[in-house]
Structures are given as C-alpha cells and as structure tokens.
Symmetry: C2
Subunit: 317 residues, 2 copies
C-alpha cells in the first residue's frame, strides 16, 4: 500500500514515518511506498527504498491516485499562524481543502488521519472538558483546525475519503529545537536542561498543560488508521487522551529523573504574547470516547520524561 504523510519532515511526521517503516505494514497490508511531503527534512531519515521524499508546498501537492492512507500533519504552528494570519489561512485551511480535493481523484477513497488540536477549544470553558464540549477556538490555528475537522467529516460523509480527526494534546517532550508553536516551552523546559542548556519558561509555574508524549501520539495515529470505519460512525473527531501537569509538576518530575541541578536550569521569564495564547487552551479532559476506542495516555509526567531520555539517548550523570 502507498502512504502519504504531509508534514512528513516535521518532528511527528518523521517519527511516524520511522515507526511505519519499522513495522512494515499498516492495517495488515505491506507498505510498498511511504511518501513524505514537507518544506524541509531531517538529515537522519533512514535510507529505505520505500521512502519517497517530496520537497514542496502542501497547497501544491500532487497525490498518487493509488494512495491508500494519508496522515495529514502539515500545518503552520500556532504562534506562526497567529502572527501571520494570511499564511495560516493559506496553509492550514486552504492547504487542507486542496489536499481533500486531490484525494477525490484517488482510485479508492483513502483513509485519512488528520492531526487536529485541543487548540480547537477556548473561551468560556468548563473546568473539565469532555466529548460534548463545543469547539470555540481563540486562535487562528485553532479555528483552522476546527474547520479542517468539519471538512474531513464532510468529505467522509460524501465518501471521497474515510477520515478521522484527532485532537492532539500538547506533545511533550518534542526533540530538536524550539519552534514557533506557543506550546514550544512545554518541551523546552524539559529538553534544554537535559542537554545542559538554560531554558526560559514564558508562563507561570502553576500553568497547566494537557499533554501526550511523542510515543503515544505516533501510536494514536496508527491506531486511528487501523480502527474500522464502524468505530467512527458516531463522529469523525475524537479528543485524544492525555495527562494534566503543571509547569511546576513537570520541573519536580525532571528533578526526580535528572537531579535538582538540571531542573534548576529553567528560568521564568514571562512572555505576554505566549501567555495570551496558552491561557485559552484547556487543561483537563474526560476522554471517555477515546479510551473506549482504545487510545491511551501516558502513565504520568515522570514516565514521559524517562521515555524522552531513552529515545534521545541521553546519559544521566
């Protein structure tokens, strides 16, 4: 089967690609080709004959007509979409619409997993959100993701794709460098200290984060694809499970894993712009539907950090 990952050069996209190549199959079908589309790619992608690297714009993307699975991860991240409205609308909204249009030309309706976000939620929120909470985004990024969900549902209803939208928690710990996502700090305050580097935290210690690890979200992408269509009949969108941790709890856990000296490398430096975005995001969820569908969260923030240490090959003093 042929698979396409948009945003395949990104942190999650390339990690998903590695996982797919390693397992060799998806939904019981051998993977013959895995196309990654993105503007840039990491240097260390595996040399694999199944892998096809397509450098380009998701808005101009051509799709092989025998593509059977699509993971649509390409997006301008939250901070960048807020700073450049036109760019966010073009890539996140128009890019998604164009991709769905191209998928109409496929020989058989491809199965599409769309990476949405809890940035879908905002405004006057209950203390604990659940599967009935209505999206009311307070950012351009969140708006574009919600619209993407409705498009994925509509094209699915029309039968031109078989779509599944996952509302991702903040992904912690991301490898690599800080990016323009407003949530970038949530990984930075773990990752930088573990690398012996000072990290600046733009939000207050009591700030809560609804999070999921890179390991669990890659599992979720694959699980979402492999669930039968009947599992999605009551709705094509699901809030993924996650855990809630405050910045203070994250730093305490970092101290337990790597020592107080490492945790002490985090400095608080309030940033009003980041805070104004982050404060609109929800912190606590009941994700009954996702759990019933077999999605799962991490065991706790400490295990999230230990997984990162293992995945990154960090040797703790």
């Amino acid at each position: 089967m042929k698979i396409l990952i948009t945003g395949g050069g990104g942190f999650l996209g390339s990690r998903l690609a590695r996982a797919l190549l390693a397992r060799g199959e998806l939904g019981g079908r051998a993977i013959s080709k895995l196309a990654l589309v993105d503007g840039a790619f990491p240097d260390d992608l595996p040399a694999d004959p199944r892998l096809e690297i397509v450098k380009g714009d998701v808005c101009e993307l051509e799709v092989d007509r025998d593509t059977a699975a699509v993971f649509h991860l390409a997006a301008v991240v939250s901070g960048a979409a807020e700073a450049d409205f036109d760019l966010g609308m073009r890539v996140n909204l128009e890019g998604t619409r164009r991709l769905l249009e191209r998928l109409r030309r496929c020989e058989r309706a491809p199965r599409v997993v769309f990476a949405s976000s809890v940035a879908a939620f905002g405004g006057e929120l209950p203390p604990v959100l659940d599967d009935s909470t209505t999206p009311a985004p307070q950012t351009s990024y969140g708006t574009q993701k919600v619209i993407g969900e409705y498009l994925v549902s509509e094209y699915s209803r029309k039968g031109t794709i078989d779509g599944r939208s996952l509302r991702l928690p903040t992904i912690v710990v991301r490898a690599g460098k800080p990016n323009a996502a407003a949530s970038s700090f949530a990984s930075g305050i773990i990752r930088e200290p573990l690398n012996g580097v000072v990290a600046q935290c733009p939000v207050a210690p009591q700030t809560g984060v609804w999070l999921l690890s890179p390991r669990r979200v890659v599992e979720a992408f694959i699980h979402a694809h492999e669930l039968p269509p009947a599992a999605w009949q009551s709705g094509r969108v699901v809030n993924l499970p996650g855990i809630t941790a405050s910045v203070a709890e994250m730093l305490e856990a970092l101290g337990r894993v790597a020592g107080a000296e490492v945790a002490g490398l985090v400095q608080f430096k309030p940033d009003a712009r980041i805070q104004s975005i982050v404060k609109t995001w929800p912190v606590r969820f009941r994700t009954a539907r996702a759990l019933a569908m077999g999605f799962r969260a991490d065991d706790g923030i400490e295990s999230v950090i230990r997984d990162y240490v293992a995945d990154a090959g960090i040797r703790l003093g």
Copy 2:
C-alpha cells in the same frame, strides 16, 4: 451609512431591504446607500435613490471601502448544495471566505450579520437542543454554514469585522415559488393551497419543523446588527428562537385560517431524497441565550399563517 446585502435579490434579502428602506436608519444612523448583490432580482423592488442593484457573483464581489453594515445571506440552498458539491463549496464556503477577505479592506471594521442555519446540527441529537449542542452537520450546506460561522468568529476576533452569526430555523411561509431548498415544502404546503393550487408534501404528516416567520427573521437580522458588541462577547453565534410544528399541525392551522377545503389541497407524495435531508434537522430547541438577547419567536403556527395571508394580500373566501 452604507449597507450591503448579499443575496439581496432573494426572498429574505429583498424583504430585509424593503424593511431597511422603510425604517430609514440602522442603529441610529441614516441609511445613505443600500447595495443588493445577487444573480437575479424581483421585479417589484422599490424605486429608491438609496438602492443600488449589483448583479453578480458573491465570489467576485467588490465592496465599497466605507461599507458599515453587511448582511451576508447569499448561499446555494441545501438541496442544491447537496446535489452539486462543487457549487456549494465554491459559493457557500469560498464565497464567504472571499467576502470576509474583502471586508478587511474597509476603512472601519464593518458589522456583519451572517445567516447560518439549524442545518448546522445533525447526527445523534438530544430530543431538545440548546445553546451547548455541538454542530454536527449531515449535509454539505450545513457544513458550509458551520465553517462560515467559525470564519465570522475568527475575523471578528482579529478585529477586521464585528460579526454575528444567526442560526435560522426553517423560514415559513416563504412567498414566491418553490426552490431547491429541502425545506421548500414547509412553505409550499401553506402557500400553494392559499393560492388555490395543489401542493405535494414530500414528508410524512408527523414530520416536525423548527420554524420562524419572514417577519420575525427580518426583525432578527436588524436586531442582531443593532445589539452592542458586548452582547456577543461570549460567542458570535446564536440559535434563533422558533416554534415547533408538525406538518399535520400546520395543515390543521391552515384549515382553521382558510377552511378545510384549502387545507385539503395538500397531497402526500413521499420523496426519499428530501426526507433523507430533512430527517437530519433538529426539531426542538431551548434558545435561552437568544431570548435573553431580545430575539423573539412567533406566537404560534396559526399567527404565522395569518401574517402570511396579510403580507401576501390574500383575500380569504
């Protein structure tokens, strides 16, 4: 002040135009110009120097930079958007997006009233919907309207417009001819018999309709515009009040108003395509927020019919 009505040649648009010209002001400001944009116009629009008729496509619309108020009613109706997916996406989604882009160029953020629809709702619905019910449209039209709402909210958040989205019940009794809206029958079974013409009803007598009269919806458009921005701070979308009536109740009321012979002109002729769309629409609402904001429903189906008789100048035997 300059006002623009998209879909200004349609039944509701031209009726709103007449009401605005008659009152002469909007929000306390004298109306200097009222531009109606549409593909076609009724012959009996008033000769009024303030009126500007613009024949054209909403997707290609130019907007005067000093436009202060916009009523965005232009849309491909539900049945047509379902039959021609590309047309609905182009006019209802892309047309709305392009209009909002053009409004960014206005000298001051115009106030925008967007006609959304209860077709926003569908799927697994509670018996009575309320302000917390999450839209899950089961038609292309409904999807395009929900996406329009999110766009109106986002452009409002960004401050380029001051937008307000109204989810309209089915409007009963519409004057004129049947159209491609799946809800067209709800007016036809009143209007045609009153004109001595046989009407075919494509749905069963027990089918419920959530409805609002043309008088009340024109009032709602104007009221939505005149409410201060603070009234919309907790959200830019509102479910308008309405009343619930079954087809059988509508025909009973018609009989009371015009006699059993008139009501007897309705024939039941099931249409699976219409039924498949109508059955996804909600029938009962609690509209606490709209009522608190000063929107109002009709007194009952009989008064809706009597208002139509009066407005259409029909003389009952």
